[in-house]
């Protein structure tokens, strides 16, 4: 997030797209509810009628995959009506003209045609967002224009044009000068406890800790020096989806999986399974025998986050301490201790520098101290400084207070760059054989592949079974009633589950959460067309067909 969670409550206009905030990030939805109760406008753009729509002052429901037309048309309107922030554009950004030219073609009429969202709603959303208008009450900022913030999540990134979507929202915020101030910005809501931190410390194929490109010789050299190794690999690695392709092709032989369940969470599960079965070595290090574990050669028992010390970095870039609350069961160990041991052994076997002694860590805190040496955005941090409320990166020095708001005076790259983005359709469109669109996501009571939440007694009690949410119109066409069994087919596979008939999804769209091993949604999703830049699979859009087993 460019801004902090607490600022949301003071926003004048909140724009949420591709985020089922109340179910996936309930505590952030509390901030949104507060803001709305104080009089903020809440604009939601989502194909599903998500629970937060109950609080929205404007709800735009585009056909799946067509939201970018709405975003582009909003900007078209903003420029046409002169609602943009010309000073901000002139002083803080570049490449505006090329971007503005592209927008000329994206009229609200065209967007309405493509997305099914009425023109007047697009114009209304554009106005409220650009000018930061409130429904009632007074802005705490007391400026000519109110402060508008954008919240988004996987609904717009897990798409074959996810990067375009994100750039478009960035364009929108810059166009209106709604960035670099409190209660504004472009705020992705990260789905997992430490997804931000895992990225920050280099858990990505193209960057070292602190987002230092692996291809940059100088930065790579500095890290190598700190680590006292001769050299570090300089080519961008394979992402998880690419790796499964490579495994099938016989290029990848071993996969070490720590605390993940790719068989459930990666697209096209059948394909993933084939790849994993082909491996010479699959190491699964986890707290439970996950679905993936049943294909592994070796299982390593890990301590859960309740059983170890360390740090998590949340979606607002806040690095916070986690602490050991209870002991781990049996012989389970903290992940870092397992890795350190394996690393020491492999170092010895491969005779790597600086030798196994370098992998002796006595505590999480000593690892963190080393981490800050190679991670510039963390370099001012220490466990002591993280008391009591953590620090938000960048925190480059020991006296730096952390950074609640990014891009205040200048963007990371200097000037904010407008990207001229065109709308693109999803990779897999519906056709006669697969006439419906499947979209995946979460329900409130479960988390990811359900490894933890489905083993929690109260959460299981509340939501024991999976279901596919189907619009009454589609259900009626197939003679499906609420609670009936239904079979979902896609080009990749088949899943059987129960129906939940609800007008929360529009006609033509089916929603299936990906928590249920009995109905693994990712048997249906596709892995052939990834976002070209971010390599994100298009979980949110797959063409499917429903079958009513009773009708056989």
């Amino acid at each position: 997030m460019t801004n902090s969670i607490r600022e949301i409550r003071d926003a004048d206009c909140i724009f949420i797209t591709g985020s089922n905030t109340a179910e996936a990030h309930p505590v952030i939805s509390y901030e949104v509810v507060r803001a709305v109760k104080k009089g903020a406008h809440l604009i939601i753009i989502d194909p599903r009628r998500i629970p937060l729509v109950d609080h929205a002052t404007l709800f735009l429901q585009p056909h799946p995959g067509t939201d970018i037309y709405v975003f582009l048309a909003m900007m078209h309107v903003i420029i046409r009506e002169g609602w943009m922030d010309e000073t901000f554009i002139a002083e803080r950004t570049e490449d505006y003209d090329a971007f503005a030219v592209i927008l000329e073609g994206y009229t609200p009429e065209r967007a309405a045609l493509a997305s099914g969202v009425p023109e007047e709603k697009i114009i209304q959303a554009a106005r409220w967002y650009a000018l930061g208008e409130r429904a009632h009450g007074e802005s705490i900022y007391g400026e000519a224009h109110g402060h508008s913030t954008i919240l988004y999540a996987m609904g717009i990134t897990q798409r074959s044009n996810g990067t375009d979507n994100v750039l478009t929202l960035a364009n929108l915020s810059m166009l209106c000068g709604q960035i670099g101030k409190p209660s504004t910005g472009v705020n992705p809501l990260r789905g997992q406890a430490n997804v931000q931190g895992a990225c920050d410390v280099g858990g990505l194929v193209n960057v070292l800790p602190g987002y230092q490109q692996v291809t940059d010789d100088k930065l790579r050299g500095e890290t190598a020096k700190t680590w006292e190794v001769e050299k570090l690999p300089c080519n961008v690695g394979l992402t998880i989806v690419e790796s499964t392709h490579a495994a099938l092709a016989g290029e990848v032989h071993a996969i070490y999986v720590m605390g993940e369940n790719p068989l459930m969470s990666d697209p096209n599960s059948n394909h993933v399974e084939q790849a994993f079965r082909k491996l010479d070595l699959l190491i699964v290090q986890d707290i439970f025998p996950s679905e993936t574990a049943y294909l592994a050669h070796v299982l390593l028992p890990a301590a859960s986050s309740l059983e170890k010390d360390g740090t998590f970095t949340n979606t607002e870039r806040r690095v916070q301490r986690i602490r050991k609350v209870i002991s781990s069961p049996g012989e389970a160990l903290a992940d870092w201790a397992i890795i350190a041991d394996i690393a020491a052994r492999v170092t010895q076997k491969l005779d790597r520098k600086p030798g196994p002694e370098a992998w002796k860590y006595d505590s999480a805190s000593s690892i963190f101290d080393e981490l800050t040496l190679v991670t510039p955005i963390y370099s001012g941090m220490s466990y002591d400084r993280l008391e009591p409320s953590g620090l938000q990166w960048p925190c480059p020095s020991e006296t730096h207070p952390g950074t609640p708001i990014l891009h205040v005076d200048t963007f990371a790259r200097g000037q904010g760059k407008f990207h001229a983005v065109e709308a693109r359709d999803p990779a897999e469109m519906t056709d006669e054989e697969y006439p419906l669109t499947l979209t995946t996501g979460r329900v409130l009571y479960h988390y990811h592949s359900g490894t933890m939440t489905r083993r929690s007694a109260p959460l299981h009690w509340r939501e024991p079974r999976g279901y596919a949410e189907i619009n009454p119109q589609d259900a009626e066409a197939l003679g499906l009633k609420d609670g009936f069994a239904v079979i979902i087919h896609s080009r990749r596979g088949t899943v059987r589950t129960k129906t939940k008939i609800s007008d929360g999804v529009p006609p033509g769209t089916v929603f299936l959460a990906f928590h249920w091993r009995e109905a693994p949604a990712n048997r249906l999703t596709q892995d052939h067309t990834l976002d070209p830049v971010a390599k994100i699979p298009e979980y949110k859009i797959s063409a499917i067909r429903l079958e009513n087993p009773r009708a056989r």
Binding site: R49, V53, D54, A56, T57, L58, F59, Q61, D503, G504
Partner: protein
Amino acid sequence: MSDTGSSNGKQKSKVHPSGDDRYVALDRTMKRFHNEKDALLEVLHSAQETFGYLSEELLFYISNHLHVPLSQVYGVATFYHLFTFEPQGKHNCIVCTGTACHVKGSSEIVEKMSAVLSIPVGKTTEDGLFSLSTARCLGCCGLAPVAVINGEIQGKATPETIAKKVGLILADEMVVQDQEEAG
């Protein structure tokens, strides 16, 4: 105001049983107030007038149409004593217990009627024929004590006159019943 479509999140939208005209009247009231939340009290009045009492289904229906949480609808409905959650008797007797009526002995009328009908105040006889209730002031203090039987005000009432009046109504009902059984 809020422009967010019709259904209400988790609360499934229940379509009213088609053919029940009474919902049409209710819909008309809600429409008159543009389905604004603030019209809740007016809508509850209209619902009770049309249906006789507020059933669970009815509150659910109102909650969905006005976008007022069901718990709030329930909370509001139970706050006001005029709303009732049970079907009312075919006939009713309301005894005023305002100050003027009180000093002129209205509590004796209440006691008497409660005994005659064998029901406590606020209840309906098992056969659904008669409901007994009290009102805090009907504004007819000049005629105290006052009771209202089937909408007709009985001024300067006594336990006996009211019991007699109710007795007559009940006797008529018996005749009707006998006739129905015979027919």
